[in-house]
């Protein structure tokens, strides 16, 4: 894979809608501090496992998209569609019927909207007649609902792929999207990941033990990806280059997963033609300084200990979307504003799935292309 460029992007995080909100939040953040998130208050009727969560307060898709077509959106779909709109706008993509078949959508998730699925199932269990469910909401129970609605909203007719990757979701998306572009299936991919904040995710995060330190969060991050020599309609600036992506699996987890993760690091460095010492920052999925399950094997593979950024400390456990938030932070942060800065994005899943991507951030505002 020769890599792809990011011509524009956006992120919806607990900081708010868009790149500026994210950047502002980062500027305010104390280094290393673990944020508790917003007070949940009366966001949901159901009891929640914690008083705080990393969600977007008073998020309304309608406010950004209008009434038409949004009435059946679940939260994840709303986040994804709004984020895509912002990313296309930020990239300056000119949409017309000639280019629409050449634009794909690749979206990462853990299992779509568990709330939509579970609420639907609940109706079949509590109604007098089990089939008294709303047919209009049935598509929301399918994991590719958000990606389908993104395509419908903007008329994107290229490959439309939903990747269920959990923690690995966003790296899987980058890998898959890069392939789709490289193999010529599409010229441009709007690639990202989304997770919603609901009682279902908040409780799952709490009960499976990954949220001792951070609460559950929600986010969407969408990135307009293209080949370096893609026509101007895909956007005229390069914000970053995703130079190489590798994913792998270590059967049984444990040492096999560590070996597989180190293998991914070696592969992306080799593919990108980068010396390990040029990597200055690693964005990992850990939360605590003492936890090096991910960073340890990476540092050993690199032969040095670069800066480690743990985005979940600021934005919560966003599962598949955490990787997308990490790339957003990478692109928004002042610390990497120097041209040519090289970073690794990494992930390690609960089973044995691992992955790494190497990203070069271009100067503030991006390089002019061509």
């Amino acid at each position: 894979m020769s890599g792809v460029v990011v011509t524009g992007w956006s992120a919806l995080t607990s900081a708010g809608v868009g790149v500026d909100a994210l950047a502002k939040r980062l500027a305010l953040a104390e280094a290393g501090q673990v944020e508790k998130g917003h007070e949940i208050g009366d966001l949901y009727e159901e009891p929640m496992p914690a008083a705080n969560g990393h969600f977007l307060p008073s998020f309304s898709p309608r406010e950004h998209l209008g009434r038409k077509g949004t009435s059946t959106f679940d939260r994840a779909t709303g986040l994804a569609v709004v984020c895509c709109q912002e990313a296309l706008r930020e990239a300056g993509v000119s949409l017309d019927d000639e280019v629409r078949p050449r634009i794909g959508v690749v979206l990462g998730t853990s299992l779509g909207s568990f709330k939509s699925t579970s609420d639907y199932t609940r109706e079949t269990l509590v109604q007098d007649k089990p089939y008294l469910v709303n047919p209009m909401l049935f598509p929301n129970t399918v994991m590719n609902c958000a990606a389908g609605q993104v395509a419908i909203r903007f008329g994107l007719r290229g490959a439309n792929t939903t990747i269920a990757g959990g923690t690995l979701g966003f790296l899987n998306v980058l890998r898959y999207a890069g392939n789709a572009i490289e193999r010529g299936h599409v010229d441009v991919v709007v690639a990202g990941a989304v997770e919603e904040f609901t009682p279902h995710r908040a409780w799952a995060t709490r009960l499976t033990g990954v949220a001792d330190v951070v609460a559950a969060g929600e986010a969407a991050g969408m990135f307009v990806l293209a080949k370096e020599n893609t026509p101007e309609w895909a956007g005229t600036r390069q914000r970053a280059g995703v130079l190489a992506v590798a994913t792998a699996y270590g059967p049984g987890g444990g040492e096999a997963a560590e070996t597989a993760l180190a293998g991914c690091v070696h592969r992306v460095l080799a593919k990108a033609g980068i010396d390990a010492f040029e990597v200055s920052t690693v964005y990992t999925g850990e939360v605590e300084d003492g936890d090096e399950r991910e960073f340890g094997p990476i540092a050993r593979a690199l032969g040095h200990r670069p800066d480690r950024v743990m985005v979940k400390r600021l934005f919560g456990e966003c599962d598949a979307a955490s990787g997308a938030v990490a790339l957003g932070v990478l692109l928004a942060e002042d610390r990497d504003a120097r041209p040519g800065g090289l970073s690794l994005l990494t992930a390690r899943g609960a089973d044995g799935a691992v992955g790494a991507a190497i990203v070069r951030r271009y100067a503030d505002g991006g390089l002019d292309r061509g």
Partner: protein, 400 residues
Amino acid sequence: MARVVVTGVGPVSSIGIGIAAFAEALRTGRSGISPITSFDPAGFPHRNAGEVHTFDPAAHLRRVDPAEWGRSSQFAAGAARLALADARLDLTSVAPGRAHAIMGTTSGESAVAEALTAQIIEGGFAAQDPALLTQLPANRLANAVSEELGLSGESLTIATACSASNYAIGYAYDLLAGGEADVVFAGGADSVCRWAHAGFFRLGALAKDACTPFDKDRAGILTGEGGAVLTLETYDHARKRGATVYAELLGYGVNCDAIHPVTPDAPTVAECMRIAHRNSGVSPSDVDYICAHGTGTQVNDLVESKAVIEVFGERPPPISSIKSMLGHTMGAACGFGAIASTIAIDRGFLPPTVNWTTADPELGVDPVPNAARPATVRVVQNDGFAFGGNNAIVMLGAPE
């Protein structure tokens, strides 16, 4: 560009487990539809589905512990184990990281999701079993395959609904053709679930007793389940180890209607067929058989037939639906279609559309009604369409 071949298939289905039983069922037009037992269907007016009753995970799985993995993951791992055995492949001979698992699904671990929902209703959110929550993420389907076979390559679950396993087979094709893999286990898995049964019923898309695709009086789908995995290899890898080659994977095409969440669009489906043909280097006149998406709803079969006639003209190749036997196995459906296509090429017959009684003059296609038909099959088009307007078509050919 390396050539890509099918050297093994692993069906875990309601009409048979393993290639021998599955092929025999296709040839005899056996139905796998039966009264639902995986959930309590009381209160539903329609109570049939294509459930897999005879799969004993413990008998098939060597490394994956059924107690720790959901039903769909068990189907995935079981199908992969069968596909490996059918390919007679010694995985220790494959370089580490050169064998991958790519699985498609519609609803992932839907049975687990339903069990958790029952716990929420019963005792509130805090009463959910953490062990069940651990089984819930859909990426576990591909991971189950990687665990079961000890694969250290990419482990990817594609959740593009009912075209998902064609998406998976397509990505596998790219990995192999592009030189990034020697072997890929690709396909899909899903489980029958209460919410899909209810949802399709309320859409008016659920048949009562039998699924009757391409029939004038077709009444809709029946939900089904299972796991379908193909062993895909580069031609060189297969040849070097002396493998039996069933079929060649010629290529694939994907696109998106981008119009409606549920209703398919004939012109975009036709365009997907053209993309698949172009990417595979075949013309419509080369295609001997179309393994239909063929859900048996009024709309799907009409749209699919229209697209076929737009692309192939007034005398299109025979097009049959194995969903008439299996029900709609959702994310596994295209995988079963690819396996049926492989068997059609290898064993020289067209699987039938069973339950067929009345021609629909509006469709204008030959659905291979009721009885398998002997045929020399050189090129097959395996159709897959999904909610979200996601079309994916895989092309298979006879081995050279």
